[in-house]
Symmetry: C2
Subunit: 355 residues, 2 copies
DNA sequence: CGGGGAGATGTTTACGTAAACAGAATGAGT
DNA sequence: ACTCATTCTGTTTACGTAAACATCTCCCCG
């Protein structure tokens, strides 16, 4: 082989080209590759002068450590997989942001997979896809229709979930959906409304079911009539359509929407129909998205501490990674406080006799 | 060494434990590891019977290919890095969703990094962090204050950017900010407003600057007075605060807000002050977030085709990856149409004599 | 002034995979 | 039957890194 020629040995075999390696740096700096490795990782002491020489060589060659080789050697990727159903929903978005932030603080990056349609097979596929990726742990936000059994992931893979239906199967972190929903409904009852109607999220969704059940239970506990809930799909659009129906009825004085978007759509429809909020109809949402405070009227809603949840999810992963902790049964709950604004008020007129 | 004992050789050296390897599968199936590799990749034909045997062994051992080893061998990661400033902003959120979707279609996953504060060093740090990660390409959405020079990433790294200030330095894809802004302002002028006020995004932000400049230019071209713009930071909160100021003045009849959130905050403040929208003040936003159509009144705004942008960004990366295409000067523009809703109308009374 | 230890550096090896090459088995055509 | 092509499978090797182990160099202290 030629002696001084460096960098010329690229492509002699069928291998795809790669950047300068630790060996190239070593040769240029006149040290062993192990010393370069030591400088690069900072794991062991290197004489200041030597380190400088190595760093110079690195800069000169534009060296960056090969992450694949590192991962192979060390057996981990410093990366967490994240599965979410609809990144766009503000809730997910905030949680994701928190996950990314918390992960970065731990020196981990986040690999994101979105599940287009919330069918069980899609989620399984996403998990398959992701568990074959370079990840050390998996966070699932809203698995929607997927069941724990269908997931079939490597038994050693640390998992954290914010979907309540996975409690008992995987460690979970989630908002206190039930408490928040109960507070919302009770707030409306306390204002003097005879009963509270509900715009539900899509059936099969964990949070949607929890909120609907809590709504119903609160009414039952208070001895109130439980009206037929309206079926929504989380979108403002459904909220608007359902709102058009509600606007025609004068027996509806209070509505608990399963999220803020649907609440916004509802209010839009009510405004259009000339029904006043909250004078004619009180509305409560769920999530407390950023815009909730700036809707008209400002929306009374249940706040989800998405940031906290995201942070906790990462912590759950980290605990499993580090000290082999078994957290299968773990379930962290984050409070979901009711934020009272101006979309709720006492009903103008009591109407005991409906229809 | 013992003969039949498999799986027992874990941990004999200082290596961290890993799952079953291709060799373990090969031993169990009674074939060579290369054949297992062939089954695993599907790259070359394997006799059906042999394949079955291998697949059985894989299932039995719970084998999953080691991504790090693959990446090391093949020189790529099938992964794209993504840097965004605030995941939460609906715009980014939608673009990210599209990027993830498009990347997945190409068999790539997406590694996400959020930049907390939009300072130049933060972005550089994020790039450093990410370019040392396992990625084959880098997409930057809103680098905010970072300059192209400060990025200093590996020269071979394919990059795609949706920030206009990077045009000429890196291939870019972005909405037609100027055209959209011009249409918004012109729409208000055409309705008969003497001039149009502007709530700007944070200084130093590319899109914010573009929108402000286009706003000013349109007014100048029409021979109208250019009022001092209001300084916002994208948040609904600033929109609200600025709105409180605007509500006190009766010379403001039309406002072009640099995004929908600020427009929502503005409208909130106007409502509170008893100023009617659009009767007293017309408002136009930018982005067309999902809620824009359901604000009250439904918001006239400039739509950004975030989904298209995200998709195009991935395409730009792919073209650079595949056929060594040089796209440095590339700049794809996506139309940004004005969506007229009900937050804009002709001014009630012409006031030619201002002040 | 010599022995001992600490600090700094070098050498060897393995991580799991897939490309390149090589060899074996099968079948088709004459 | 015999060659030759085709299909399938096995062997060797390298990817870039870092742990484990082996030296080698100094300096301190008796």
């Amino acid at each position: 082989m030629s002696s001084e020629v460096r960098g010329a040995r690229r492509g002699i075999k069928g291998h795809p080209k790669t950047g300068p390696s630790i060996g190239d740096v070593a040769r240029l700096a006149g040290v062993s590759s192990q010393t370069v490795s030591r400088v690069s990782t900072g794991s062991e002491p290197v004489k200041a002068e030597t380190r400088e020489r190595v760093l110079d060589a690195m800069r000169q060659l534009g060296y960056a450590p090969n992450h694949a080789a590192r991962a192979l050697r060390q057996g981990n990727f410093r990366s967490i997989g994240l599965i979410a159903h609809q990144v766009i929903r503000t809730g997910e978005s905030k949680t994701i942001e928190a996950v990314i932030e918390a992960a970065r603080r731990e020196g981990y990056s986040v690999s994101l997979v979105d599940v287009e349609s919330p069918s069980s097979s899609d989620v399984s596929e996403a998990v398959q896809h992701l568990s074959h990726q370079a990840i050390d742990g998996l966070i699932i936000i809203r698995a929607e229709t997927a069941t724990p059994a269908a997931l079939a992931l490597p038994p050693t893979m640390p998992v954290a979930v914010s979907d309540s239906r996975f409690i008992g199967h995987h460690p979970a972190v989630g908002a206190d959906q039930v408490g928040g929903s109960r507070a919302a409904v009770q707030h409306l009852l306390d204002l003097g409304h005879a009963t509270v109607h509900h715009i539900a999220g899509p059936g099969g969704s964990g949070p949607a079911d929890l909120r609907a059940t809590a709504w119903k239970q609160t009414l039952v506990n208070a001895g109130r009539e439980v009206p037929e809930p309206f079926d929504g799909d989380w979108s403002a659009e459904t909220g608007y359509k359902i709102g058009n129906e509600i606007a025609k009825r004068d027996d509806v004085t209070a509505v608990f929407a399963a999220n803020d978007e649907m609440a916004a759509g509802l209010i839009h429809a009510l405004h259009e129909a000339g029904r006043r909020v909250p004078d004619d109809v009180s509305v409560v949402g769920f999530d407390d998205i950023d815009l909730a405070a700036h809707l008209w009227p400002p929306l009374t809603t249940v706040r989800q501490e998405f940031h906290q949840i995201g942070h906790d999810l990462v912590e759950v992963i980290m605990r499993q990674l580090g000290g082999r902790e078994q957290l299968t049964g773990y379930h962290g709950t984050v409070a979901a406080p009711l934020i009272v604004r101006q979309s709720t008020a006492a009903p103008r007129k009591r109407r005991r006799t409906r229809r």
